[in-house]
C-alpha cells in the first residue's frame, strides 16, 4: 500500500525502571484500514498505545503525525490531530451521567458555560452509532460492564476521530454488541478512518482486520497484511512457539452427585431460576452480557438478597445469608472486576493470597508468618505466579492477577467455585493455564460454575451450559449438544434454543 499513514511510530523504544518495554518498534496507521495489534499481556501493547496518543514519551524514536515527526508528542497534539483512544473499561467516571462521560474533556461551550443541549445532541449521535439506547442522564455506574464499554467507544467517536484506537473493545461485550461494533468499524473504515484494534480474540481479529502487527516482549515479530495468515501462525508469533490446544482434554468425572440445588431462585433481577450444581463438573453460564449471570452467582454466594422455594447447599437447607455463611458452606467466588472486587492492589501478593484465611481464622489468634510464607509460596508455585511475593499485586499482569484471585481460595478447600468471567482480558498463555487448572479442580471433585462472555470457552470446557436471558435460564444445553451456535441462538432467544435444550 502506498497511502501515507496518518499516525506512525518510528523506531520507538521505551524503558520503565530500567526494564525495556519496547525496542525499536515501528507501526503505521493508514486511513481506511483496520490494523490489528496483537500480543500477550505484558508484550507492550498498552505502552505503544500510550505513546501513539501522546500519554507517554518514547525514550528514543519518534511519532509521526501527518508526515511531521514529533520527538515528544503531547496528548494535546494527538487530540488535535484527531487521535482518540477507547480504553479497556474503567476509563469512565462512574458517578456522572452517560452524556457527560461521552463529552468529558471536550464539552461544547456557550458563553463560557457548558452547552448541555448541544452536548446531549452530539452524545446521542455518538451513542446511536454504537447502538446504545440508554437514558443519557443516568449515571454510568448503573450500566453493566458491556454497556460501559460501548460508552467508552462512543466517547472516542464523539471526537470524530481520524485515528481510532480500541484497546480490547470486545473483552466484555456480548456477541450481539460485538456484532454492532463490527458493523460500525466497517463503516468507519470506508469513511477513511485509521483504526488500531487490540484484542485477544483471534477469530474476530482475523475476520475484521486488514493488517496485523504482532508484539512479543516489546519487539515486533510480524508486521504484514492479514491475508494469508492463519490463527496458529499468529499465536506462534505472539507466544514464540506452537500453542497446541488451548483447551484441555475433556474427561468426564464419574461421581457427579448434586452438591447445591436451588429451585425458584428470585431476586430483583432473577426470575424463578432452578439450578443444580454437581461435584466434578464444570457448569457453564452463558448469555448476552448483563442478563443476570452476575446476580445469580452473587445470590448463591450470599452477597445479594434473594429468595427461593427450596434450596439445599451441601445437605443443609436454605440459601446462605452472608458471604461468611457461604464460605463456611464451601463456596468461593472469583469476581469479574478483579481490580475492584477481587484484590487489594496496594498490598503484597502473599498478603492477598492469605486474605480468605485471615477472614476464617480466629480474630485474635496469633498469625504464624513462617507458615503463611510457606503456604503463599506453595500456591504461587502451583499457579505459576513467578517472582517476589512481597511485591504489590498491582505490578502483576492481568493474567497473573487473576491467578492470585483464584489461588487465594485454595487453602480453604472450597467445594464450589463460582467464577465470573475469569479469563476476561487475560492473555492466551494464561488462559490455557487457567483452563487446565479448572479441569483439574473438577477432576478432584470440586464443582466449578463458570459464567463467561467467551462462547468458545463454554463450549470446550463445560459439561453443560445454562443460558440466561433477562434474569431467566432459557436453555440448559448438555455436553453432546453444546456448540457456539446453540449458545448464541439461545442467548438471542431464537426458537432453536428450545430444540437444543
Amino acid at each position: 500500500m502506498t497511502t501515507a499513514p496518518i499516525l506512525a511510530a518510528r523506531g520507538v523504544s521505551k524503558f520503565f525502571f530500567g526494564n525495556r518495554v519496547l525496542r525499536d518498534v515501528s507501526i503505521a496507521l493508514q486511513p481506511g484500514r483496520i490494523h490489528a495489534l496483537l500480543g500477550e499481556n505484558g508484550a507492550g501493547k498498552s505502552t505503544l498505545i500510550n505513546i501513539l496518543s501522546g500519554a507517554l514519551r518514547p525514550d528514543s524514536g519518534g511519532v509521526e503525525v501527518d508526515g511531521k515527526t514529533y520527538r515528544a508528542l503531547s496528548p494535546r497534539d494527538a487530540r488535535r490531530a484527531g487521535v482518540a483512544v477507547a480504553q479497556q473499561e474503567l476509563g469512565l467516571t462512574s458517578q456522572i451521567s452517560i452524556a457527560e462521560n461521552v463529552g468529558l474533556g471536550d464539552f461544547p461551550r456557550r458563553y463560557g458555560l457548558i452547552d448541555y443541549g448541544d452536548l446531549a445532541r452530539r452524545a446521542k449521535a455518538a451513542l446511536d452509532l454504537v447502538g446504545l439506547d440508554e437514558d443519557l442522564a443516568s449515571p454510568v455506574d448503573d450500566l453493566p460492564l458491556g454497556r460501559r464499554q460501548m460508552v467508552e467507544i462512543a466517547r472516542a467517536l464523539f471526537r470524530e476521530p481520524r485515528v481510532l484506537i480500541l484497546d480490547e473493545p470486545t473483552s466484555s461485550l456480548s456477541a450481539h454488541e460485538a456484532q454492532t461494533l463490527t458493523g460500525l468499524l466497517e463503516r468507519l473504515r470506508s469513511k477513511g478512518v485509521a483504526i488500531l484494534y487490540i484484542s485477544h480474540r483471534l477469530n474476530e481479529v482475523m475476520r475484521l482486520c486488514d493488517y496485523v502487527t504482532v508484539l512479543k516482549d516489546g519487539v515486533v515479530t510480524a508486521d504484514r497484511p492479514m491475508q494469508g495468515v492463519d490463527a496458529a501462525d499468529l499465536v506462534r508469533l505472539m507466544v514464540g512457539r506452537d500453542s497446541g490446544h488451548l483447551f484441555p482434554e475433556w474427561t468426564p468425572v464419574a461421581d457427579r452427585e448434586p452438591i447445591v440445588s436451588v429451585a425458584g431462585l428470585s431476586s430483583s433481577v432473577l426470575r424463578d431460576i432452578d439450578i443444580t450444581i454437581r461435584r466434578g463438573e464444570v457448569f457453564g453460564i452463558g448469555g448476552l452480557v448483563g442478563q443476570g449471570q452476575e446476580d445469580l452467582l452473587l445470590s448463591l454466594y450470599g452477597a445479594l438478597p434473594a429468595s427461593s422455594r427450596s434450596a439445599t447447599f451441601r445437605g443443609r437447607p436454605g440459601l446462605p445469608r452472608s458471604v461468611r455463611a457461604a464460605n463456611d458452606l464451601g463456596l468461593a467466588y472469583v469476581p469479574a472486576d478483579r481490580k475492584r472486587e477481587g484484590l487489594h492492589l496496594a498490598h503484597a501478593i502473599a498478603w492477598n493470597l492469605m486474605l480468605p484465611s485471615f477472614a476464617r481464622a480466629a480474630a485474635l489468634s496469633l498469625r504464624r508468618r513462617g507458615a503463611e510464607r510457606g503456604l503463599a509460596a506453595q500456591l504461587a508455585d502451583r499457579f505459576t505466579i513467578k517472582g517476589d511475593l512481597t511485591r504489590q499485586v498491582q505490578v502483576l499482569s492481568g493474567g497473573n492477577q487473576q491467578k492470585v484471585a483464584l489461588a487465594k481460595w485454595i487453602p480453604g478447600d472450597p467445594r464450589v467455585l463460582l467464577l465470573n468471567d475469569p479469563t476476561r482480558g487475560v492473555d492466551v498463555e494464561t488462559k490455557r493455564e487457567i483452563y487446565g487448572l479448572l479441569r483439574r479442580l473438577a477432576g478432584e471433585g470440586k464443582a466449578i460454575v463458570l459464567s463467561s462472555s467467551d462462547t468458545p470457552e463454554l463450549v470446550h470446557l463445560c459439561d453443560r451450559v445454562a443460558v440466561m436471558r433477562q434474569g431467566r435460564i432459557v436453555a440448559n444445553i448438555e455436553r453432546q449438544s453444546l456448540s457456539e451456535e446453540a449458545i448464541v441462538a439461545a442467548s438471542m432467544g431464537a426458537e432453536t434454543a428450545r430444540a437444543a435444550a
Binding site: A346, F358, R367
Partner: protein, 324 residues
C-alpha cells in the same frame, strides 16, 4: 522448603526501614529535641523529657483507637467528647463502698466502649458516614455533659486514679507504663493477628474484603469500640493527672489524635499505616505544644501557632502519596 526462599521473600533491606515513615518521624522528633536543647537550656533535662513522655502518653493512648479506625477507612471525631465524658463521669459514678475506685474505673471504661460500639453500629448498620456519625455522637455527648455536670469542674476522690496520675514506679510515670503496655497490645493486634489483617483489608478495599469473606460489620464495630475504650482510658488518665475533670477537657485531643496518626505515616484514606508511626507522632505533637508554651504568647496565638505548625509538619513529613 520455601520458608526462607530469597526469591519469594527477599530479606527486608535496611534502606527500606530507614526510609519508612515511622523512622522518619523518629528522626524528626530527635532533630526538634536537639535543636530545642540548644535554643533553650533545660529542655533536654531528664525531668523535662520525662514530662514530655507523660504528656505524650495521653495523646498516644487516644491515638491508638484513632489509628485502628483510620486504617479501617473511617475516622472518629467523638474521641474528645468521650474523653470528657470519662473524666467528668468518673467522680459521678463513684459508689460509697468502693474504696479503691476500681468500680468507677470499670464502669467508665464500659461506658466509653459502649459509646464506641454505638458509633460502630451507626457506621456499619445504618451506613452513616463516619464523620457524620461520630460528630453527631460528640454533639450528643456534649449536651448530655452540660445536663448532668453543669459547667462546674468535678474533683475525683479515686485513689487508683490518683496513683495513675502521680506515681512513678522506678522513676517511670504510671501513665507512660500504661502507654507502653497498650502500645504493645495495639501493635500485636494490628500486625500479628488475623483481626489486624482484616482491619487493613477493610480500609484498602471494603468490597473485595467482603467478597473474600471478611465480616465488614463486625470489624467496623470492633474498631470504633476500641477507639471508645482507648478514649475512656485517656479520660481517666487525664483526670488522674489533673485532679479534676471539666467540660472541654478532652477537646484538644481530637486534632492531636488525628495529627499523630497522620504524622506517623498512616494513610488518612485507610488501608495502610502502623501504630509504630503514631508513637513518635504523639511525642512530636506534645513537643511542639511544649515549645509553644515557652514562647510567651496569649492562648489565642498559641492555638494559631499550634495549628500552623501541625500543618507545616505534615507538609514536611511527606504528603499522602497519590493512589490509583
Amino acid at each position: 522448603m520455601s520458608l526462607s526462599d530469597p526469591v519469594r521473600f527477599p530479606r527486608v533491606r535496611a534502606r527500606a526501614i530507614l526510609g519508612s515513615r515511622p523512622f522518619l518521624t523518629v528522626l524528626l522528633v530527635a532533630a526538634v529535641w536537639i535543636a530545642a536543647s540548644f535554643a533553650k537550656p533545660g529542655f533536654g533535662a531528664f525531668g523535662h523529657l520525662r514530662y514530655l513522655f507523660e504528656l505524650g502518653a495521653v495523646v498516644g493512648l487516644v491515638a491508638i483507637g484513632q489509628t485502628f479506625v483510620v486504617i479501617a477507612g473511617g475516622i472518629d471525631l467523638s474521641v474528645g467528647a468521650i474523653i470528657t465524658v470519662s473524666a467528668v463521669g468518673a467522680p459521678l459514678v463513684a459508689i460509697p463502698g468502693d474504696g479503691s475506685g476500681a468500680f468507677a474505673i470499670l464502669a467508665i471504661l464500659a461506658a466509653a466502649t459502649a459509646i464506641g460500639f454505638l458509633n460502630g453500629l451507626g457506621v456499619a448498620l445504618l451506613r452513616a458516614h463516619p464523620m457524620i456519625m461520630t460528630l453527631a455522637m460528640a454533639t450528643f455527648l456534649q449536651g448530655l455533659l452540660i445536663l448532668i455536670a453543669g459547667g462546674s469542674a468535678v474533683s475525683a476522690q479515686n485513689p487508683l486514679l490518683e496513683w495513675l496520675g502521680d506515681a512513678r514506679p522506678g522513676g517511670v510515670p504510671a501513665g507512660v507504663i500504661v502507654w507502653i503496655f497498650a502500645s504493645a497490645l495495639a501493635l500485636a493486634a494490628l500486625h500479628a493477628t488475623p483481626f489486624g489483617a482484616r482491619v487493613f483489608a477493610l480500609g484498602a478495599n471494603p468490597l473485595a474484603s467482603t467478597l473474600s469473606g471478611i465480616d465488614a460489620r463486625a470489624t467496623t464495630i470492633a474498631v470504633y469500640a476500641i477507639s471508645g475504650f482507648a478514649s475512656g482510658v485517656t479520660g481517666l488518665l487525664l483526670l488522674g493527672m489533673n485532679g479534676q475533670g471539666y467540660v472541654g477537657i478532652g477537646d484538644p485531643y481530637l486534632l492531636s489524635s488525628i495529627a499523630a496518626v497522620v504524622l506517623g505515616g498512616t494513610s488518612i484514606l485507610g488501608g495502610a499505616g502502623t501504630y509504630a508511626g503514631t508513637i513518635p507522632g504523639a511525642i512530636l505533637l506534645v513537643t511542639i505544644t511544649a515549645l509553644i508554651t515557652v514562647v510567651n504568647a496569649s492562648p489565642g496565638w498559641r492555638s494559631i501557632l499550634f495549628g500552623a505548625l501541625v500543618l507545616a509538619l505534615l507538609l514536611l513529613s511527606g504528603r499522602e502519596a497519590r493512589r490509583r
